[in-house]
């Protein structure tokens, strides 16, 4: 995935993962980053930091992922991580209704406190625990869609995700797709149901985020370390040469601080 000789410059995107403890934030990141995942699977103290590149047709997006601690007492530290973030993934557990409530609280907080242009994706994790649920219960055309989703072969666009599964068949599911999707639509969030375990919808999630982020609002990643010589100012100069809209972008990025 990491192709150094790609003609396009990697664009750096700061992404933060939020959500209740044990909804599987770290697992999602692990799944997404596993291509070049190394020994740093250490527990999350405050937040774990990982990077992963994501390739689109016309550009490469380099995600800098902050995987925050889910424990409630770390909540007050979260602003440190989501400030200046261009994207946020708010995770809940589809088998735990309360986790969606917490996710909603996170969304509210992000919308009030974080960068105003932040792209927020709502992700219902642990789809594997109920994955045959929708397939069994929904014997309408929707079945095809769900299967595809589960197989991870032809990921459907998020808007056409599975129809609400009748909750009586898969008893583990506590949050229906429809409920979460309606909420996501109301709050203009990207929405996915995914499984870190099977990998379903994981890369789709990050690709969709990469697509959705208004690229003009992001500065291209300055050439590694040393090249940003001169420290201050150096970066701006350099950036200006490559990206016309950078001036605005810089502002947007700085302005994100609450």
């Amino acid at each position: 995935m990491a192709s150094e000789e790609a003609p396009v410059k990697a664009v750096q995107v700061k992404l933060v993962l939020l959500g209740e403890a044990a909804v599987g934030k770290s697992s999602l990141v692990l799944r997404f980053c596993s291509n070049d995942f190394n020994e740093n699977t250490s527990p999350t103290i405050g937040a774990a930091f990982l990077t992963q590149k994501c390739r689109l047709e016309n550009r490469i997006v380099k995600f800098e992922i902050w995987d925050t601690a889910g424990q409630e007492r770390f909540h007050s530290l979260a602003p440190m991580y989501y400030r200046n973030a261009a994207a946020a993934v708010v995770v809940y557990d589809i088998t735990k209704a309360a986790s969606l409530e917490k996710a909603k609280a996170w969304v509210k907080e992000l919308q009030r406190q974080a960068n105003p242009n932040i792209v927020i994706a709502l992700v219902g994790n642990k789809l594997d625990l109920v994955s045959d649920g929708p397939a069994k219960s929904v014997d309408e055309p929707a079945e095809a869609t769900t299967d595809a989703e589960g197989d991870d072969s032809t990921p459907p666009p998020p808007s056409t995700t599975a129809q609400p599964s009748s909750s009586d068949s898969d008893d583990l599911r506590q949050v229906s797709t429809a409920e979460a999707e309606t909420y996501a639509k109301e709050s203009s969030l990207l929405f996915f149901e995914a499984s870190a375990k099977t990998g379903a919808n994981v890369s789709e999630l990050f690709t969709e985020i990469a697509k959705t982020i208004p690229m003009e609002s992001l500065a291209p990643k300055p050439a590694q370390g040393a090249a940003a010589a001169g420290g201050r100012g150096g970066r701006q100069e350099q950036g200006r040469g490559e990206n016309v809209q950078l001036g605005e972008g810089q502002q947007a990025k700085k302005g994100g601080c609450c």
């Binding site: 405050g46 530290l77 040393a226």
Partner: protein
Amino acid sequence: MSLPMHLRSYREKSRDEVTREFFNVPTQEAIPGPSDPPAISKIRGPGHREKEGRVMLQSMDINAVLSVEGKEEVYAGRLSLLPPFLCFISLDRRSCRCTLPLYTIRRVERLNSRAGVFALSLATWHGMRIILQLTSLLPTAEHFSILLRDALKAQLPSMKQLKPFLPSLYSEFLITAPTAGHTHAQTDHLLLGTELAEKSQAAAEGEGDLRGPGGHDKGAYERGLGETFGFPGDARKMRERSKMKLWREYFLVHGRNLTLLRYPPFQRLLQVGLPSRLRGELWEVMSGSVYLRFANPKTYSLLLSTNAGKSSQSTDEIEKDLNRSLPEYKAYQTEEGLAKLRRVLVAYSFRNPELGYCQALNIVVAGLLIYMSEDQAFWLLEVLCDRILPGYYSPSMEGTLLDQRVFEAVVGRCLPMIKDHFAEVDVQLSVASLPWFLSLYINSMPLIFAFRIVDCVLAMGVKVLFQIGLAVLKINGEALLEVTDDGMFINLMRTYFSTIGDSAHPNHPDPRVRAITNFQELLVVAFREFNVITDETIQSERKRLRAVISDEIEKFSKRAAVRNLKAVGRFDKDQIGIIYDHYFSAVCSEEAGASANPLKPGDQFDQPRIQVDAQGRVETRIDLRTFKVFLSEIATWAREETVTTNAFIQRTEKKVADHEMIDRLFYSWDKQSQGTLSLQDVVLGLDTVISAGLMESIEWFFNLHDKNKDGYLTKDEVIQLSESLLFIFRNEPGDVYLAAVSKFILNAYEFGDATAPQSSVPSPEDRVPINGEGETASESRHRSNSTAGPHNLPYLNLATFRMVVLADELLEGFFGNDLPASFQLGRMEEEDYHQHHQKPEGILGGLMNLVVTNENKNRLNRLADGFGAALGKHAEWRKPSLNKTIPSSPNLDLGTRESLLVPGQNPGRARSPSGASQNSTASSGHGTPETRSLADVEARYREESEMVRQAQEAILHRPNFAIDAIGDSDGEDEGGEDDTGVMDEVSRRQKTIHDEYELIDIQVEAFLKAHGDDDEGLKGEQKKVAEDLMKAEPMGGGKIKASGSAGSNLVDL
């Protein structure tokens, strides 16, 4: 949502506590007496009691000179008796220190010596003889030795426990084990081995552990997982053997474990890294956790057995993190290792339920358990959480946040370029430094190095974390100035830590210089360049920033709590904020705590107020008692306001009222019947009452008294309802309310008899079970006589009740306006609690604070009352509840009252707080019989104003006392506002008095200043001595300097 109420009860530590902390000595309460049962969980707040029957032994400091038999060095310093410990620190605060538990002292003798020299000889358990020369004046020295004798006597029972305890320490095994010359070479060759043994064991060492010789069966000492699974690092490279040899020699002269003295070599041995097998013991000795383990031998196992099988939010969280705790270490890939880790964390979460479990503790404990047994690690964990890293792991993590801020501040001071650069590129230091502090670097760098930092933290305190952090930044300074975002910063730090074992100067021609690793360089920079960061630096920075942090946390948790409300009723955001403020201040209030048993501030944390909700989240909920405090702030009738006028001032005292009515309200708002209310419950509850119209008010009031919710009040309940009404009206002047309530009862019975269901269907047998079911125990206790009687039958329904209410103009007005209006959402005065309460610095400020504490205020008030009473000028009355409604709009208030009251009876205005008492008195025409109580009050008012005047005159003619001035600081606050409408003459008089007081104030200030100067002079002198000593080349520090350039043989053997 749990609220950070403990932040408000923070108090600075007392001197005794600071000293105890310095010597790593637990407070006396933490040490159970010999007969006490082991304390299973720390009971804070209400349970915090002075132990009866246990005499708190007196502490004392004295100047002394310490020497040890067999050593030439003599150190002048300060000897502190902190029962049951005797502690010494040399004047330079680093060369020599010791903490001797008194139970390790076998014998104390006064030495025969030259006249004027008072010397004691202490023989310790380990046979060491310590000579203490008490250099203070003879009587002081004698007093000290008497206290010492008493303290020693009290420790006799503990001495018996010493013998069985000592074998748990590895140093005992080390000293008693046969030396290399004997046949037991296999046992201890690793420690004192010959060349031969070394060679034969090379293979085992190559594996990088010290496994083997100790094994499971040699020695009964407490051991960590390392003994079984191998210690991290290459034992040979770490020179374990030579280190062990040096420690053995050190122990022989300077005592060991409980009687260990820290002499200059100790510091050197410490900084080269402790030998793995001795590390656990030295950790607990240096941190003082060994004293807790000694004093509480059964606590850990009892905690585990009494809580076996219990699960909690903490245990769930622990379970999730077990597999993420140093997974690279072999033992934590086995069930044995994980089980140990689980047990220690779980036991601590039950020991300290308010803290429970915090991520990062898993890492710390996993680290400890490599070198320590479970019992040892448990007590060290307690010392870490309580003393070394206070508040780091608490539910609001205020200690962590505070120290991060402190770290930023010291970085700003020591490395301003880095700070400026980070500010410019908008990168936060904490992004990287937070885990350093939270996990003591254990998770940040390779274990062998991290544990050497832990060695220093446990020996020298938290300042080491700051010093290392500064050194890391300084060493990477140039690269840091290139950093442009968080990611680069993190990556840079990661790279540095992963190469910390590499040579710091890989290209240097001199091989000795090449051998210096990054880590050695780090330590040298940390301890040499940043030794300016002292405990005092950190303390003063913490003090400076604490208020800011507390404010931030409170605001943050307020925002979160308000945001997390699922329903807000008809309130807007500001009103919710106000409700939150009252709720929170009620939780924090002293009345809500154990009022009978005044809490020690700093320790207050009432368990029942934190609950785990249905989703397993910790939640702050309030119990009935706290609710009463809350309601008294909101509802006018839920408090007793006593207005007291004495010779000096008029003041209003608020007290929480108590009535069954309030209990009913509490239980009716408790929708989930949990016995406690959440903020959500309170918001919804208030919503139903505060914005209710006439009909709604009547309805909820009716429902409040309809115990079994069958839509009918029984006769008993009608009576109870009337009692509630009378309770609300209790302080209203005049008889109209009493009359209205009597009329109400009469009407209710009249209408009730006409409409009651059982008159048409007289089947009491059917009804009784239903009622019985609906009744709670407490209720049936009250109504024990009403099991089957007609009093217990459905009687009055809502429609009838409404009719009865509407029949009375006064009640109609009450339900329509006064009742909803009696709930008032006034803004709290203390918006920025901590900012306001940040106390002024300096001795003057300190003294002023002493004067203005609540307690003193009360005392002064009592004193003033006393004066007033003596002069025959003391009066009190209760403020009525209802005519104070909507104080912000007096006109509306007036209107309300008029609709309520019979014409000619208009006390609202005259009695309203802003109304000028003198004026109304002058124009008083309310001599009508109905208002006689009102007239009484006014007469009293008049009388009192006269008294005030007289008293003031009296004061003018009296010689001035300092106490008057102090009293006035109070009077000005409260009296000042009341003055506004007062007659000119009075205000002029008061002004004179104020002038007088000001004069006195000046005198007091002068006095305080003089006093303060005195004290500062003393300080200055001490400082000078200390400064002189600082200049003197310290024994340890000097060596480090020398070694820094010449190679690193000191920093690493």
